[in-house]
């Protein structure tokens, strides 16, 4: 089995650029990824591209070949769509293709153009990640679905909105110096608690922003990296994917994410590690409650105790397991189809010592990336390690 190296990463700044097409965004991210990798475009065996709402935001289907073209790559291309986990599942498949010897160099990533839809349009587009007949037609929005989970969490384990607010404050703090982040601005607990309600108990500052952006990765086999003398010290050593019933009301638990737990267990076993080996993690915090459910599913916090991890300093930059040093979806932004690949990019930069927040995890060798779709009917977890 071939080891999979992260040879190159590229991110556009995430933010509000409604006029920029996703092909332009992905093209930009790919330039940085190829430059960082040292691999030529002509060696790419395939393109795996994540995108969620391109039909709605750009009237564009069949995006695989379009994005290969945008990146200057002549190779077969496939679009992956798994809601907010679209590029996470693309990475998972890319890892398998390289490991089984099918391919040596893959361009993997994703992009999303969202802000051109406006708030109402983007809310409508995001909602289609839920069951249209049984959830959306009853008025469920994407924030509303996570609000149902938050309320169920409080009911089951206790807690209050202020506990969640600490997560938003932490992730904004982490993004302060991250020039890729949509919000490089500190907030305090009052800002979160006094913000307009979106879907109770979640307010505006419990929610990730609507974002435009792209992420690109050049993944290679270990043998390719060695033969071509690439500077690629970070490998994806574990991959896992989990699934669940589509509608929240059809799940056994309303305040847990079994799909993420399965993905995590699979990724840990694959890499031969357990949760305590992870020095830090990027997790899918589309809403503050989502970070709680993620770190519990990954065993970074015991079930029922994830809520207070940020408040108690266990997941802050100086805590025992920093979570979302990039700023997370909350502050870095959430261009849906780009998010999973962007987490791999940020983890790689943090491990390489190339990230503005690398000093917070200077001795780190092992880290996690957790990407979730819908109310976690889809999840991927990847383990990244410094291997040379």
């Amino acid at each position: 089995m071939s080891e999979v190296r992260v040879a190159g990463v590229g991110l556009t700044p995430f933010g509000n650029v409604p006029e920029r097409t996703s092909r332009d965004l992905f093209g930009q991210a790919s330039i940085d990824a190829f430059e960082h990798s040292g691999a030529p475009r002509s060696d790419v065996d395939g393109v795996l591209y994540g995108n969620f709402m391109g039909e709605l935001s750009e009237h564009q289907g069949h995006q695989g070949p379009l994005m290969a073209e945008a990146a200057g790559v002549r190779a077969p291309a496939t679009r992956y769509e798994s809601a907010c986990a679209s590029s996470g599942v693309a990475v998972a498949d890319a890892v398998k293709r390289i490991r089984n010897g099918e391919d040596d160099v893959l361009l993997v990533g994703g992009a999303e153009r969202m802000t051109n839809l406006g708030t109402a349009g983007a809310t409508e587009a995001l909602a289609i990640a839920a069951d249209d007949l049984w959830e959306v037609r009853a008025g469920t929005t994407f924030p509303g679905a996570y609000a149902l989970m938050a309320q169920a969490y409080f009911e089951t384990y206790g807690g209050e909105h202020e506990d969640l607010a600490h997560i938003a404050v932490k992730n904004h703090d982490n993004a302060l110096e991250n020039e890729k982040a949509q919000y490089q601005r500190a907030i305090d607990l009052e800002d979160v608690l006094e913000a307009p309600q979106v879907s109770s108990p979640l307010g505006l500052y419990d929610s990730c922003p609507i974002s435009d952006g792209a992420a690109a990765l050049v993944l290679t086999s270990e043998s390719y990296a060695e033969e071509h003398d690439l500077d690629a010290p970070v490998a994806i050593t574990g991959t896992g994917q989990g699934g669940d019933r589509m509608a929240l009301h059809d799940r056994e638990y309303l305040a847990r994410s079994p799909a993420a737990r399965k993905a995590g267990e699979e990724a840990y076993a694959d890499a031969g590690i357990d949760a305590t080996d992870a020095d830090f993690a990027e997790v899918h915090d589309c809403f503050t409650i989502a970070e709680v459910l993620a770190i519990e599913a990954l065993d970074i916090a015991p079930v029922g105790e994830g809520l207070t991890a940020a408040r108690d300093g266990r997941t802050t930059a100086d805590g025992e397991t920093p979570v979302n040093l990039s700023g997370g979806l909350k502050a870095k932004g959430h261009p849906v189809g780009a998010t999973g690949a962007s987490q791999i990019a940020e983890v790689t930069s943090l491990l390489e010592g190339a990230h503005v927040n690398s000093d917070a995890v200077a001795d780190a060798t092992t880290a996690l990336a957790h990407n979730a779709g819908g109310t976690v009917a889809s999840a991927t977890v990847h383990v990244l390690e410094v291997v040379e």
Partner: protein
Amino acid sequence: MSEARDAGFDDWLDAAEEDQAYYLECSEGHGSLPPRRVCPECGSTELEQPPLPGTGTIETFTVTHVPTPSFEEDAPYATAIANFGPVRLTGQVAGLDLEKVENGLEVDIAVAVSETTGDRVLTFEPV
């Protein structure tokens, strides 16, 4: 979107309007919702349509202030997940003030219409 009905789902709403809501049950006793040909739990293709228990209990809820365009005129509104035993359902809560919606509330099913679109909406009303 086309004007075509969604077979299975609209049939269910028709039945609910007549106080004859049902659920799907396989030979192993797993409950699910239509339209469906295969039990999602065990793969059984033997699905019956027993009556849905008349009363459910709210297990979680939210009041949505930022809706999709389809519910612009309806906001703010409460959405809840209610447990009816063999299945849970998601619906809007009608018939009481938003601040009185709470976990544990006993509800039955009604079919209302969206103030924005006139489309039918699965609704919970306090018993």
